[in-house]
Symmetry: C2
Subunit: 235 residues, 2 copies
DNA sequence: CGTAAGATTGACAAGCGTCAAATACAGTGG
DNA sequence: CCACTGTATTTGACGCTTGTCAATCTTACG
């Protein structure tokens, strides 16, 4: 068994989840780990008075629920934003991967750090930028992730979220989201057609966002060598 | 060599850093990793117009700079908030720990997830709470961390930060921090004496903060077994 | 004792939230 | 195929929290 095979059998058979279905609730005991195969899933925390904050919009390939792993009770709610397919992870297999494939362990560790960077940028965005800038940051971020998966994707993409949900991501009300989107449109930054957003002037949007682009280093020199059946036989 | 010994020699000889000294700047190439031995260190991102956002207030024992590990250029600036002592980590040794001590690798992974939880709570706080509540969240969080290190610590602690720095943590201006602290005091939540804060009514503060307490699970059942010289001899 | 940084307070402005109403849209059942 | 109904979007009026600007007071320190 090599690294790729171990990863492939980490998650169990995917389950279909329809839009708005909750995968697991904040407060649930002994939080588990999931892999998102298809669709979008939101991670959110709710406070009293009906206020909700989305912490992350997950897309296909993402691991769901990792932040709650060290907790006795899940911190966030996982809810399907579109119809989705989700596999469940056996945590014992995860532990075994760290033991058998140290390089994968480091890569999991680095992936967690990368998520910290995303949260840090969101915190700066929500804490220090105005409504227009926050939306620019969000749109650029989502668009970049879609392009990373499909390099031939153009400047258009479907944003399958209500304006209220968008507000719950960037910490604004639905009304403010509506006005800010309209302004971005009339100022020529974007065009809209229903749920489809066209990034009309990505450069200007990036400039408006005023956050630097992050460049990921794929293979740091201190990674352990890959290990496989050859040098680490199964017991 | 066992786990404890490997951890002990991870960081090099500590260096003295005086207050306000920058340990490393955002944008610096090939970011490294540090261990904070003594004092407080802030991690911040700066935007144009002089705006700054602190992402984390580090205390003794913390690992500094981890989020930037997957990046080509550091995302955050590390600056000493008090006089401090900081050790530098050899990243090759970190990789070696993942290879030789998988259990420690998982624990590093879980520590990163724990930091994500802290950031998520900060994001909810900054995004959805008002000035009083944000300060309540901050004070409770700092106090809890100090009590965790020293269980016999009372309700008083020194907060060695200017009001402007506090504002850069909770995304407020120094003026708003000042007014909010005053209100917390006149409303009986806290008492102040210079830089010393007394948590006069922790229950009320916690209630004001309106974020649930997070309970860490110290030993998840899926952790790999500890490994040492016995079952994994050095090459 | 003098100076600079930080804390405090007041007056005012701006951005966003709240409330409410009108319009567009999608899904449903006849 | 169409009327119906609930949800999402859009727009306006207004208020509240926080930011901005400026002045004064306090504290730390050389």
């Amino acid at each position: 068994m090599d690294e790729k095979a171990a990863l492939a059998e980490l998650a169990g058979e995917p389950v279909f989840i329809h839009r708005n279905q909750v995968i697991r609730h904040e407060g649930d005991a002994s939080p588990s780990l999931y892999v998102l195969i298809k669709g979008w899933v939101g991670s959110s925390i709710r406070l009293g008075h009906g206020n909700r904050q989305f912490l992350k919009v997950h897309m296909a390939g993402d691991v769901l629920g990792a932040p709650s792993l060290p907790l006795t009770h899940a911190a966030d709610t996982l809810v399907a934003l579109t119809d989705a397919r989700v596999g469940s992870v056996d945590l014992n297999k995860l532990g075994a991967i760290f033991a058998r494939f140290p390089r994968l362990g480091v890569l999991f560790f680095l992936a967690a750090q990368e998520e910290r960077i995303v949260l840090m940028d969101r915190l700066v965005s929500v804490g220090r930028l105005n409504a227009h800038q926050r939306l620019a940051v969000l749109l650029i971020h989502l668009h970049e992730r879609l392009v990373a998966v499909d390099p031939k994707a153009g400047p258009e993409f479907e944003l399958p979220l209500s304006q209220e949900q968008i507000g719950d991501i960037v910490s604004l009300t639905a009304v403010s989201v509506n006005r800010a989107l309209r302004n971005l449109q009339t100022d020529g930054y974007i065009r809209r057609n229903g749920k489809v957003i066209e990034m009309a002037d990505i450069g200007a949007l990036r400039n408006l966002a005023s956050l630097p682009a992050r460049r990921i280093r794929r293979n740091p020199p201190w990674l352990p060598r890959p290990s496989g059946a050859a040098d680490a036989p199964e017991r």
